[in-house]
Structure formats: structure tokens, C-alpha cells
């Protein structure tokens, strides 16, 4: 984990409202594991005040790491206006990443919207025996996988409005793959909006399929110091709350109290 003023190598729009940013840091590239994130300070001003968390979406060569982000508010709007050569202070890599699938298991990646970001990085590590199911609200939101450095043979798309791929929810596509014969050999990795995650959690818990979920929470420190990013633990554990920044952002599906979310 380091704090570094990293240089923007590129910052390009790859879909409406969606940007891919490359930042230079050999230190972060060496340490980064899929599922981990960084806290970015979007500028020198104190409004917005806090850093913003972003999953590491991949690395290039030995000193470039990627952030895939969607403009949703003040902070991301400022980031989208930053140009090559500017520097952004980054803290990371932070948190616990994904556990890689055991050999022989087929991985199914389930993403919703910008939740694709950490899974892209994971896909580069897993490489084979994986199916990537990416859901978007609409065709124009689709993140072009080649542009983020991923050449997948097995990828399915679902769109809420039916403008591309399967018309409907990504979880419907997932369900269609959870056949009884397959169940014992699967592992699910997922990231996306909460309603989607809840559905994936329900599907995998009821079928007893191993599943790793990357969660979001409002964060202040990202370091486990402020206890701001609490998420309720499932009753089985001995903790009441986990801290997403430190105990996560990736959790085993069973450790979370999904009802509380």
C-alpha cells in the first residue's frame, strides 16, 4: 500500500459517460491483486472533500494500472475532465481481492454496469474456463472488452431494455447456466448494483454454489480506520459488521447479511 501522486497517461471515453484512465505507478502494479481498489483524490480542492474508491481494472506493462469509471457525480465529473500529464494522488492497492478459482472449476463472472471493472482484472488472471456475463441497462452502455484489454471467447450480454444480447436481467442469464449437472463444478464472481448482487446471492446460496461478491459502501478512509464502510455480517459469524474497505470489498457470499442490505 502506498500513497502516490500518479501521472495520468490517458483518460478516454470508451462509452457514453464511461471512461478508462491509465495511471503510472510501478509500485501499485506490482502489488495489485484482482478485486483490490484504490482511493483517488480527484483534485486539490476540499469540495468534494473525500477520496473516491475505484476498483483496479487491470494493469499494462509494469507501471500502468487502469481505472474504469462511470461519471455519476461531482468527483467523477472532475476526473473525466482531467487530461494526460496531470497527476492524481492515489492510495492503494487496498482491501482483499478475489480468491482465484480452484483448478478444474468453471468460473462464471456476473457483472452489472460499471461492476465489470474488477472482473476484467480478474478475468485476465483466470484466463480460461470462464464465462463472462455482463449486464447493462442499454446497448450504448456496453464496455467494449477489447478496449479494456480483454479478449474473451465466452461472453454473454444482457440489457434491461433489450437493445443488445439477452433482453432482461443478467441474473436470468446466470440462472440459465446453473443447471443441476453444472452446479458442483462452478464458482461465481460478481460485482454490480445491489439488487443484482442480492439476486446472485440468493441464486448461489440456495444452490450452494461458491460465490465471491465485490461490495460497495460509502468510504471515508479506505484503510480500516474510520469504520464508516460497515456492512452487516450474516448471523453465523462472530462479528456484527464487516468493513468493506478492509474485510472486503470481496466477500464470500455467505458472510454477508443480505437482508440488511
Amino acid at each position: 500500500m502506498i500513497e502516490q501522486n500518479t501521472q495520468i497517461i490517458f483518460n478516454k471515453k470508451i462509452a457514453p459517460g464511461t471512461f478508462l484512465m491509465g495511471l503510472r505507478s510501478a509500485e501499485i502494479v506490482i502489488q495489485a491483486r484482482p478485486g483490490q481498489f484504490v482511493m483517488i483524490r480527484v483534485g486539490p480542492n476540499t469540495d468534494p472533500l473525500l477520496r473516491r474508491p475505484f476498483s483496479i481494472c487491470g494493469t499494462r506493462g509494469d507501471d500502468l494500472f487502469l481505472i474504469l469509471y462511470k461519471v455519476v457525480g461531482k468527483g467523477t465529473a472532475i476526473m473525466s475532465n482531467a487530461v494526460k500529464g496531470e497527476k492524481l494522488s492515489v492510495v492503494g492497492p487496498l482491501g482483499r481481492g478475489f480468491e482465484l478459482p480452484e483448478p478444474g472449476r468453471k468460473s462464471i463472472f456476473v457483472s452489472g454496469g460499471i461492476g465489470v471493472a474488477p472482473l476484467v482484472f480478474l478475468a485476465q488472471a483466470v484466463k480460461s474456463n470462464l464465462l463472462f456475463i455482463a449486464g447493462y441497462r442499454s446497448a450504448n452502455e456496453i464496455v467494449p472488452m477489447e478496449q479494456v484489454g480483454l479478449n474473451l471467447t465466452d461472453i454473454s450480454i444482457a440489457t434491461d431494455d433489450g437493445t443488445a444480447g439477452h433482453p432482461g436481467f443478467v441474473t436470468e442469464l446466470l440462472a440459465s447456466h446453473l443447471t443441476e449437472s453444472a452446479e458442483g463444478h462452478l464458482k461465481i464472481f460478481t460485482c454490480g448494483p445491489l439488487p443484482m448482487l442480492k439476486r446472485v446471492a440468493a441464486l448461489t446460496i440456495e444452490r450452494d454454489i461458491p460465490c465471491q461478491v465485490s461490495l460497495e459502501a460509502t468510504m471515508a478512509c479506505g484503510l480500516g480506520a474510520c469504520q464508516g464502510c460497515a456492512v452487516r455480517a450474516s448471523k453465523d459469524g462472530n462479528k456484527t459488521y464487516y468493513h468493506v474497505c478492509q474485510d472486503g470489498p470481496v466477500f464470500d457470499v455467505h458472510t454477508i447479511d443480505w437482508e440488511s442490505l
Binding site: M1, I2, E3, R41, T46, D47, P48, L49, L50, R51, S89, V91, A217, T218, M219, A220, C221, G222, L223, G224, A225, C226, Q227, G228, C229, A230, V231, R232, T240, Y241, S260
Partner: protein, 306 residues
């Protein structure tokens, strides 16, 4: 010029420099140990400690506001016993002041936490949080009543062998009344301010943005209020004052020192820049050098008002 002397005295407590990290914003120090050398700090004030572990409030616990943030962590902490077992050993190895921030739900509980820390090595002082707006006692906080504030102070003093700093609430009509009450009760120092009570609403869902409804406002937004209260309190008590509230850089820290603080605490800024406390120390050192100040203690209360 030779290096300026950054040492400051907070009553019986000597700090190598006047920059502490504020309770609740720096965990137990270890969270920042990969990013800064903790030994360079004037001291660390650890997360508020209670007798028993507390899970804290349900999420969402934090929300950003203009130049500030609201928090309703609910004083989540691991409790006295776990603190001594799990966190203290690492803190004891540090070469910096370790100040334990404590709180209770009754005056007796304050006493019990203090007693549990009595005689324990490696704890430089106790900071008594009588000002947290997140924990209710009949809807009020201890720190808004001068008598109860004094009683808490006395109780802690009875049960400790360490210097006692009382941390004051800004949510009062006249903070000097509370400061004088805890001074009279024997406090070695006061620190201020804790957070201002505030609230934010999600207009789409029409629910408060914090599950706890209200929370504590911190960050640069509140700095003018903090500087004002520090200035007021420093003029009304003789014990040292520690200034807290919205410090983002050494210039902000200097405002507090000039207003009458002997030391400062950096809180929310640790989230914005985890290395900020070190930068504040460096900035203060350079300021002293540039201005030919040999002892930083000379800055305290140097504000000119006619």
C-alpha cells in the same frame, strides 16, 4: 539557523511536536503505518474506547457534505479488554505519545474504563470524550451540562494515574462554561472541538442519509467555529488547550496555535491525505525556521487583538 524546538507541554505531558491525530480518524495508528512513520507524530489519539465492545450504528454511517462530512459511527470499538490485548502491544512499541480516548454510558462506566487503563505502560494520557453527539443519555450528551462534565472529569481523575484531557462539545451555548467546570474539576487540559451535530436528507427517498438520522459534522467546513471556540476557551482557562476541527495543513494548524492552542489534532484530513499529519509537522517546522522562531511554544496565544 538551528532546528526549531517543536516540543510542547500539555500539563504533565510532553509531546515531541504539537501534532496529534484525532480520535476516530486514525484507528489505532497501525492502519496508517505503511504510509507514514508513526514515530514522527506528536502523538496518536486512538478510537474512542468503552468498557465493552460496541458494534456501532447501522450503515450508512458517513456522508459527504460541502467541505465536510457527517459521521454516525456510533463509537464502534473493540472494548477495553480487546484493546489491551490486540491493539496496545503495537502502540507500546511506538516512540510517540499514545492517548486513549474513552467514553461511557454512565459516570461509573467512565470510571471503569479509566481504571482499566490504570498503571498500563505506554499510555501517555487519557482523553475523555464527553462530547460525542451520537450516544444519547436521555437525549442529551454529558458534555452539554457543566455539572455532569465536572463529575465525569472527577470520576476519571479518581481512577487514573495519567494526565486527563477532557474533549469538549461545540454544541453548547457557551463552551467556556463547560471548560471552566472541567478545569475546576481538575482536568489537566481540554481538547476541542468535537463534531457539530448535523443531518442530510436523501430527497429521492425522503429518508435521512445516515441510518442514525443525525451525525457529527467535521472537516474544513467547521474550522471557523473551532478556531473561534479555541480562542474563547484559551482566554477563559489556565490549563492547556488542544485545538481540533478542520485542520488541513500547517497554516490551519497555526491558526489554532495563535488562537491559544498548545497542540492540535488532525482528524478528517487523514482521510483526504493519509500523510497530512507529517506534512503539518514539516510545515510548522519550516514556518518556525523562516520566521526565526526557536520554540514553537512561543506561537501559542500570539494572536494580536486589541
Amino acid at each position: 539557523m538551528s532546528e526549531p524546538d517543536l516540543k510542547v507541554r500539555i500539563g504533565p505531558l510532553e509531546l515531541k511536536n504539537p501534532v496529534l491525530t484525532a480520535s476516530g480518524t486514525f484507528g489505532y495508528g497501525q492502519e496508517f503505518s505503511e504510509l507514514i512513520d508513526l514515530n514522527e507524530l506528536g502523538g496518536i489519539v486512538v478510537k474512542g474506547l468503552s468498557l465493552k465492545p460496541r458494534a456501532g450504528n447501522p450503515p450508512p454511517r458517513i456522508v459527504e457534505t460541502p467541505c465536510g462530512m457527517l459521521n454516525a459511527i456510533g463509537l464502534a470499538n473493540i472494548g477495553l479488554e480487546n484493546f489491551l490485548k490486540e491493539k496496545l502491544p503495537r502502540l507500546q512499541r511506538l516512540n510517540t505519545a499514545v492517548i486513549v480516548n474513552i467514553y461511557g454510558h454512565s459516570i461509573d462506566e467512565y470510571g471503569a474504563v479509566a481504571a482499566g487503563l490504570k498503571g498500563v505502560e505506554g499510555i501517555s494520557a487519557i482523553e475523555v470524550n464527553i462530547s460525542c453527539p451520537n450516544v444519547d443519555k436521555g437525549g442529551m450528551t454529558f458534555g452539554t451540562d457543566p455539572d455532569i462534565s465536572a463529575q465525569v472529569t472527577e470520576k476519571v481523575l479518581e481512577n487514573t494515574d495519567k494526565p486527563v484531557i477532557v474533549k469538549l462539545s461545540p454544541n453548547v451555548t457557551d463552551i467556556t462554561v463547560i471548560a471552566k467546570a472541567v478545569e475546576k474539576a481538575g482536568a489537566h487540559a481540554v481538547s476541542l472541538i468535537n463534531t457539530l451535530t448535523g443531518m442530510a436528507i436523501d430527497i429521492e427517498t425522503r429518508v435521512p442519509k445516515l441510518a442514525n438520522i443525525s451525525g457529527g459534522l467535521s472537516g474544513p467546513a467547521i474550522r471557523p467555529v473551532a478556531v473561534y471556540m479555541v480562542c474563547q476557551v484559551a482566554r477563559s482557562v489556565k490549563i492547556p488547550v488542544i485545538g481540533v476541527g478542520g485542520i488541513m495543513d500547517y497554516r490551519n494548524a497555526l491558526e489554532f496555535l495563535m488562537a491559544g492552542a498548545s497542540a492540535v489534532q488532525v482528524g478528517t484530513a487523514n482521510f483526504v491525505d493519509p500523510r497530512v499529519s507529517i506534512k503539518v509537522i514539516e510545515g510548522l517546522r519550516k514556518f518556525c525556521k523562516d520566521q526565526g522562531i526557536t520554540k514553537i511554544e512561543e506561537i501559542t496565544g500570539s494572536l494580536k487583538v486589541e
